[in-house]
């Protein structure tokens, strides 16, 4: 357990820069969140963040974000796979537009997705006429918007790992008589699992907090399609800072929990993989 200093110089300056910028941009502002919600007593705080309307807000946000992120795991895996393993026309193009959801303002995405999925939109009318399913202004609509903003996360975390997997392992597995399914399950999957988990958690966390695209498509009906970030906004409009910051604090807590779960999962998985190797 001897933690000796690295001999590489520059610890001080890099630590200095990192901590300074981190404090100004992230830590100090986040502290004001705590300060403002501390204006409520503990029981008031608990009451504020557990009102039925607020609980249903968390539930709507978390459940739709979860479903959207699952969809993104499956599609992200497929996308990463075809981008790494196959050659086909339009590959560069696909590779190029994956980050589009990052670049397109969420409001623009929200507006155009809403227009497309209302009962008389291009896509919405197909679903409405054939199956009687409404997309915009329901939880399905929220999920659609969240799938959109979450696309890049899983693809971009799995893709580089998949690229690095040595084809020899797979060939060895194949020579040893494993079929494609077994090879994928036993050889490839364990390698990319940490990347999948981290892609999923990032997409999940980002989706829970998403506001810009969702407000347009959600319909915002209390108990049905009202998301947690919207509740923060409405508390603000009522000039109730402590309530708004309390809900924000809970959401921040959720984000930290998700990140920690990810960190934990990463270390467990990497231990298991390394232990086996």
């Amino acid at each position: 357990m001897n933690k000796r200093r690295s001999i590489i110089p520059g610890f001080g300056i890099s630590m200095g820069i990192t901590i300074t910028i981190l404090s100004i941009i992230v830590l100090i502002p986040l502290c004001s969140l705590v300060v403002f919600s501390a204006k409520l007593s503990f029981s008031e705080f608990v009451y504020t963040v557990t009102r039925p309307r607020v609980l249903s807000g968390y539930f709507v946000s978390i459940s739709t974000a979860f479903v959207a992120s699952l969809i993104n795991v499956v599609m992200g895996l497929i996308l990463a796979w075809i981008l790494v393993r196959y050659d086909f026309k339009g590959k560069r193009f696909i590779d190029g537009i994956i980050e589009l959801p990052f670049a397109l303002p969420t409001a623009v995405a929200g507006i155009s997705l809403t227009h497309l999925t209302t009962t008389n939109g291009w896509v919405g009318q197909i679903f409405y006429n054939l199956f009687g399913i409404r997309i915009a202004y329901t939880r399905i609509g929220i999920t659609v918007a969240l799938v959109f903003i979450g696309i890049p996360f899983v693809v971009r975390s799995v893709q580089p790992v998949l690229e690095k997997i040595d084809i020899q392992y797979e060939e060895a597995a194949f020579i040893l008589g494993a079929d494609a399914k077994t090879t994928f399950r036993k050889v490839i999957f364990p390698e990319i699992l940490p990347a999948i988990i981290s892609g999923f958690t990032l997409a999940f966390a980002r989706s829970i907090g998403e506001y810009g695209s969702v407000v347009f498509i959600a319909g915002n009906t209390p108990y049905e399609t009202e998301i947690a970030p919207l509740l923060i906004m409405s508390e603000l409009q009522e000039y109730d800072y402590s309530a708004a910051t309390s809900i924000a604090l809970v959401m921040l807590g959720i984000a930290i929990v998700i990140l920690s779960v990810n960190a934990l999962a990463q270390s467990i998985v990497s231990k298991r993989v390394n232990g086996k190797a």
């Binding site: 039925p52 309307r53 227009h115 347009f216 906004m233 409405s234 409009q237 009522e238 109730d240």
Partner: protein
Amino acid sequence: MKKKLLSLILIAALGASVVGCGSTSSASGIDSEEVPKSAGETIELTNVSYDPTRELYAAYNELFAKHYEEEFGQKVEITQSHGGSGKQALEVANGLEADVVTLALEGDVQVVADAGLIDDGFTSEFELDSSPYTSTIVFLVRSGNPKKIYDWNDLIREDVGVITPNPKTSGGAMWNYLSAWYYFEQQGQSEDEILDSIKKLYANVVVLDSGARGATTSFVENKQGDVLIAWENEAFLSLQEYPGEYEIVVPSVSILCQPTVAVVDEVAKKHGTADVAKEYLGYLYSDEAQEIEAQNFYRPSTKSIYDKYVFTADSNTITEIPADGKWINDNVNLTDINHFGGWAQARATHFADGANFDSIYEQ
């Protein structure tokens, strides 16, 4: 070679950031000059307003700039900000440097005053409770009125989809809610019965947008619901933008909405714009400005101009913008906020956390 280029870029970036930081702070320093502007210079004025007034102030600012230059020989440039009334009030209270606020209701201006930015008695600073123009709440229905919606009691029928914004986030929506309340009260319902009717009404709401403009878009562009409860000026604007597609239905009772204007004294003092700000709001009562307000479908407060735009209605449905420009239907029983005991009282009874509006959504 490439390496050099890259490191050059990095160094340049570093340098730019240092210089840039300096310039941003100095640039923001200019904004808060404390000396009154000298003659000849362009005066900058910031007007923070609510959502539906965009068209109105675009026209009025032009008129005012012309008037001010003729009268005082100085150019005025007005910067507009629009958004949900409550949100705008909060931002001004938080430090958004508005010289004047022109908000949807007195209660929102009060928030700015409570932050210590507006001197007491702002409602008597200008005539008529500091509301140079008023509006009311009407219904917008699809052409031909397929669902036969004529009055508030039609909105609680099970087959009707209603669009109205959330009163917790939208000033206009509070007026909507209060008008509905007044109607059921006029029907002789007890408080419990009224609550029950309001509950039915909001159960019919298909999309509860966060602002008046969002609600109009849901109804008009995205074709949601059968009826939009809207500001009169918004409804007429939709009629103008989409001729033949919509009709306005004027309900039997409604509410007199009094958008309130005020000089943000502290900010104006700091900017040295107190006089021009006062002139800006005062000129809203001039005949020229009242005309512009009427043309933008706000009810002017000057009687003679108001009368110019009134028509005697034989039905409560308006299918198109009248060719003669007479659009004000005077045949409505209008209540006002005093009926609800003023804004503080109305907020506490209806819109605060756990108050009436929350209770109708409790399961």
